[in-house]
């Protein structure tokens, strides 16, 4: 077996080897930027985008239902959690879109499994770990394309998307700086794999760390929390033309089985303040029109509250997308609160892959494997 066959057998991709980053950058400077925000633990969407005029909402949640005064009115009977106030200017400017009822059929309520479904863009019964963004590429990208500031590659997992994952810049620098580039000719496939990965990490780490340590500093003050720092680093890399087009950050702690009101308030504040700073920074540098931000989570939470002041694992959820060229407003149809499934969960109204199809074709301009899922009209052309 030759090396190519070996790599294909392992469902891997050819040549992870060194590439010329300089040329790649020149070509990629205008590549559209996508920032994914993972809300880890499953955000309770019903208390984020609130069906404030629906009596069923208060019936299902006698203790957890937000009062009108705890929300910011939008329209069409919906209001946002008031912790999202920093994002209101984007809503008013028509550059923030809410997508109703995203989910999939035969919903799985395990965190682990459901995030795998979301991140791989696969069916509920299809075990597949290749990330949905990696699926947009059939051959390996010739330069660093994805940067994850967080714990796992998730939607960028797989071999086609040249991706770097770092928990934070400082510890990554410590981790990667001693990896040396190694050159050796070999017919040993296993050894080739090790050398290719090592050279690739070494090269990517070098350019990311150089970019982070140099370039223009930010004009915006980011929140001092972990999420804020992730966004600040992502903004720095975008602003100083790293050349990567896909970024991912994460905010954890949304698994609010109890004491939800306080926890979610704190997390949504962090979310909104962080993203507001990120958007401001992109605007300052004339990049906002080139950026799309989208949130996702493993699932939504149960429609009815539980007895511990929280909510349990559910199914469909609303998510938002924002950016200078995003067509603001509501997209899709809100799930009905008086028509729940056997488990008391919301019935999804749009498959989450409709969103992926949209982002792939309208934003990243890539052929989409999800053409059977009707796209939203999400991007101004």
């Amino acid at each position: 077996m030759n090396r190519r066959e070996f790599i294909q057998l392992s469902s891997l991709l050819p040549t992870l080897g060194l590439s010329s980053n300089i040329f790649a950058k020149a070509n990629q400077a205008k590549a559209p930027i996508l920032l994914l925000v993972e809300l880890k633990g499953a955000n309770d969407a019903l208390n984020t985008l609130v069906p404030i005029d629906d009596d069923n909402y208060r019936k299902l949640r006698p203790k957890l239902a937000l009062k009108t005064t705890d929300t910011i009115a939008l329209n069409e009977g919906f209001a946002m959690h008031k912790a999202l106030q920093p994002l209101m200017k984007h809503w008013s400017a028509g550059e923030m879109a809410w997508l109703h009822g995203l989910g999939y059929s035969n919903p799985n309520r395990s965190h682990f499994r459901s995030i795998e479904i979301w991140e791989s863009g696969s069916d509920s019964d299809d075990y597949d770990t290749e990330g949905w963004l990696s699926k947009l590429y059939t051959t390996r990208t010739d330069h660093l394309t994805g940067v994850v500031i967080g714990s796992d590659a998730g939607p960028m997992a797989g071999e086609t998307l040249d991706t770097l994952v770092m928990e934070d810049a400082k510890s990554y620098e410590a981790l990667a700086k001693r990896l040396k580039a190694v050159r050796a000719e070999t017919s040993n496939n296993a050894l080739s794999r090790i050398l290719d990965v090592q050279n690739n990490v070494q090269q990517n780490a070098k350019s990311v760390i150089q970019t982070l340590n140099g370039g223009q500093s930010s004009k915006t003050t980011f929140p001092k929390n972990k999420f804020g720092k992730q966004l600040e680093q992502a903004a720095h890399l975008v602003r100083n033309d790293l050349g990567a087009s896909i970024y991912k950050v994460e905010l954890g702690g949304f698994d609010t089985h109890r004491g939800q009101l306080k926890t979610q308030d704190r997390l949504l504040k962090q979310l909104a303040q962080g993203l507001s700073a990120f958007a401001e920074e992109m605007k300052q540098h004339g990049q906002w029109d080139n950026v799309v931000v989208m949130t996702y989570s493993e699932f939504g939470r149960r429609a009815a509250e539980n007895k511990s002041g929280g909510t349990d694992h559910g199914t469909a959820a609303a998510h938002f997308v924002m950016g200078g060229r995003v067509r603001g407003g509501f997209h899709g149809k809100a799930p009905r609160l008086d028509q729940l499934d056997n488990n008391g969960d919301l019935i999804y109204t749009s498959d989450f892959r409709s969103l992926y199809n949209t982002v792939a074709t309208q934003w990243l301009k890539r052929p989409s494997p999800w053409s059977s899922f009707a796209p939203f009209s999400l991007i101004h052309t």
Partner: protein, 448 residues
Amino acid sequence: MATLTFEQSKHLVERSGIGAELEMIEILSQMTKPQAIDYLLNMPTDYLVPLPRFSSFDEVRKVRNEKGPDSRFKANKMVRKERGILQRWAISQLLENPTALQERMTWFWHNHFTSSIVRSSRTIDLMKNQTLLMREQALGNYADLLKRISFDPLMLVYLDGQSNKKGKPNENFARELLELFTLGEGNYTDQDVKEVARAFTGWRLNKNNKAVLGKRNYDSGQKVILGKQGRFDSHDVLNILLKHPKTAEFVATKLWYEFVSTDTPETATIKRWAHTLRSNNYEIKPLLKDIFSSDAFWDGKYKGTLIKSPMDIIIGTTRTLDLEDKNLPVQSLHAQLKRMGQELYNPPNVKGWPGGAAWVDGITLPVRQQFLRRLTRGNNNNQKAPSQMMMQAQAKKAKEMPPTATPTLPIEMWEAWLLPIPAITPIKSKQPRQRLQALLLDPAYQLK
């Protein structure tokens, strides 16, 4: 017949076990090849780190049903805590069991007949019982193991066997039985899956978490399975599968990737091994004997063509450097296994860990190298323990790491001891600790 050379003995120890333990290398190098293989296959298999007690389903349920808003969380917390206890127990067992081959095969079968500890949420006892079964049958009999795992309580939960009922079949177990446990993909049809599912209807767990057949939900009708017709039940199906030649070939192929190479095996070799397995009524030892005696196992072209698993990197290096009885922070080893993508009892999905090239990527390779670097870090005079930095995940909690024992082996033999192929970056240092670190950080150390 000549006794094994150091390199041969090392190859046999490392490939059959976990790590290249000098003590074992020395023992086997006084034997001929057949003697050494017999020795390995007949080592005791009764070493067991005392098992902690796990709460029964009833005890967990009692907590869950207590009055008060927090009872559910208490019960979940209780199970989560015990999950960690079992995982740490398994690490201690991996570090301490003198029969490394038994450990390797235990985890081979765990990865063949996959279940997840996350689905052991009623009580960790289910996973504990399953891991004891794998351990008991690690070098035992494949047919017995197949027959027992098919009615294993955790397997019934994990692959939805409990929801497989007459008239409402759930095909999850049936499909994996054919695809992953016996025949392998391409050797059966979708119709076979449906019929096998019918034969397995009716099994459920009783109050004591024992698998029982409920007659009411069992579909006793005619089935056609792999071209045979009859009123087959679950036991008949297993016998049909064990008579099918593809089953032994599938297991033999998996063992090739475990013990020989990431490269594709030759068909003739697999057929021969499969024949050994079947003609010995699925006894595992004769097959392992064949594998370890085969030309392919010793062929120079396959040296260094296996990529070490996280278990090889973490447990193997610890055993190699004789650090296992140094009061290691087991929780940290657990965290490291998880970071490298092999959290024990928690495979990514029913297919298990794919292994091979998938073990190393841009995320895990730096983590593997960092672990090795920190394991060997220390001052040059062996006076002070190197700070316990290797376990980043537990940096604050972990105790100081003992210095690595300086091996008794002459320094010029270390490369042959630690690397399967010559170092990629020539190692110059004669200073023991620097040399040790350079060898462990060489790309060749990622291989075996």
